[in-house]
Amino acid sequence: MSAQHLKTASGASRSLARSRPRYGEFAVKAVLLLAAMVSIATTVGIVAALLEPTIEFFGEVSFGEFFGSTTWGPLFNPPAFGVWPVIVATVEITLIAIVVAVPLGLAAAIYLSEYATPRIRKIFKPVLEVLAGVPTVVFGFFALTFVTPVLQDVFPFLELEAKNALSAGLLVGVMIIPIVASLSEDSMAAVPNGLREGSYALGASKMLTSVRVVVPAAFSGIVAAIILAISRAAGETMIVAIAGGFKSVFTLYPGDEMATMAAFIAQAGSGDASVGSTAYKTIFAVGSLLFIMTFAMNYVSARMVQKYREVYD
């Protein structure tokens, strides 16, 4: 923005501009650009780290077996490479998490944006921030040693295993509440007051205004927040590794132990697969799949945020 200001300034009054070029200014800009390029290098590095072992993996295991079979066990003897059980587990735990996080996060966002007095905001905003800062190992520990035993006591008919998708999914849901809440609140805060006042002028109540005017007006931002939360949930590792377990049997029942994609990467990457083996390369193949899935979701989310920004700015 200010770069453009400079350009017009120097263009309009060339005689007043410095005749000698400022090499220092140019050097500073180059250094700054270099720092920004580190992020590009990171993406290139991630793709490079994933690509070569993934190609090698598909030289050893056919595409058809990877995507066409439902038996998973790269660390077993004989190994099996049907990736569906870990994909299904990832989707299932993500779904449980979304069912928890979207209603709670959205309600929190509506309250903070439309109802809360500055005093109440001052109390609850830090609560959400602290919740966002709790390390995921802590959530995993809580799921394994508190939530699962309590659920087993209260609902014995569910027949929960000691590690299960349900507790893991619930805690992943709690983990992403702050993401849904804070991003949705941002987009609701961006809705111009004129819309609210217009709604009141037509006789709508506060609830009607919130639900029928503010939420629809902030909709693309809310969707972007939810997509981002889904992508976070799908990639979450420590909670699912601790409370969801590593068993890779094809199952749909959330009371069973099941390994997600991230949990498999964690298990195989922490030393259970010997370097160079097909099992080791599976880490990178599953990693590529996870990266592509989350990348696609992040891209859609980022585009939606851009779109919504254009509406009210």
Binding site: A35, S39, E129, L131, P135, G140, A204, G235, S270
Partner: protein
């Protein structure tokens, strides 16, 4: 808050028709926030109660041990975490702040490469941390041959928090009004002089708050270290950047995965230490924000 500009009587008039529904809705909204608060309280009370028997000096004076869980400690994890965070602060903060200055002050948004940079950063901020572990394993540990050392861990975590640092620093810089820049330029300062003497000093509190929050994210991170062979039962403190290491969250993970009850207690005690560090950092960040935040 936004409602404040509307006359209060108008709102009351509008909601006279259905008071019960309105009340229930409001209570439901408040309840969802209360659930978050209750959950957080429950979590903290639970880990403190579980870990209480081991919250003594042996916890940070002793090293981890498989054979004697009742006296095992977490000293190597604490030192490993301090090393990693120190190096991450040295690498990620300057890089992130410089990148943020470029994007806010110099980048011409109509150029495709600047838009690509922005899109890339927001994508990177949401890449799962375990994928950063794969980056550390494949590129830094093996291809660059840094091995499973503190250096590898610190570079990996720096790359992980870099997008967060950039995004928060950009917000802080954006909050400085253009009139400050224009005033400085009008007095004959160059663009860099303007940034260095006016924009940066004005945005330092915001940048500091964002940086502390980014580092607190780095402290709690465990997944990337799983891939970096941060051997969980390191019984010595790291001696330099090329030393092997473990970090606190990963030690907690290894305690949790052992069957004996004593390890669960040890894990809870270690979690209390970790949460105490994080709460302290969060409070400093919130205090900084409330104390120095300027409204232009």
């Amino acid at each position: 808050m936004a409602i404040l500009s509307t006359p209060r009587s108008a709102v009351q008039l509008a909601s006279r028709g259905r008071p019960l529904k309105e009340h229930l809705f409001r209570i439901a909204l408040l309840a969802s926030l209360a659930i978050a608060l209750v959950f957080l309280t429950l979590l903290i009370v639970y880990v403190v109660e579980e870990g209480w028997p081991r919250l003594d000096s042996t916890l940070w004076e002793n090293q981890p041990s498989i054979r004697r869980p009742e006296t095992a400690g977490i000293q190597s994890g604490i030192f490993g975490t301090l090393w990693i965070i120190g190096l991450t602060a040295l690498m990620a903060l300057p890089t992130g702040i410089l990148a943020a200055i470029y994007l806010e002050e110099y980048a011409d948004k109509t150029k495709w490469y600047n838009r690509l940079l922005e899109l890339n950063i927001s994508n990177l901020a949401a890449v799962p941390s375990i994928v950063y572990g794969i980056l550390g394993l494949g590129i830094i540990a093996r291809w660059m041959a840094f091995g499973f050392t503190i250096m590898t861990g610190a570079i990996t975590i720096s790359l992980l928090v870099l997008p967060i640092v950039i995004i928060s620093a950009r917000e802080a810089i954006r909050a400085v009004p253009p009139s400050i820049r224009e005033g400085s330029l009008a007095l004959g300062a160059t663009q860099w002089q303007t940034i260095y003497r006016q924009v940066l000093p004005a945005s330092i509190p915001g940048i500091a708050t964002g940086s502390i929050l980014a580092l607190s994210r780095a402290i709690g991170e465990a997944a990337p270290f799983l891939m970096l062979g941060a051997a969980t039962l390191v019984r010595f403190n790291p001696e330099g950047v090329w030393s092997s290491f473990s970090v606190l969250p990963l030690q907690i993970y290894s305690f949790i995965s052992r069957p004996q009850e004593e390890f669960a207690v040890l894990a809870a005690a270690a979690i209390v230490v970790l949460l105490a560090i994080l709460l302290l950092m969060n409070s400093v960040a919130i205090w900084l924000r409330n104390r120095y935040q300027k409204r232009w």
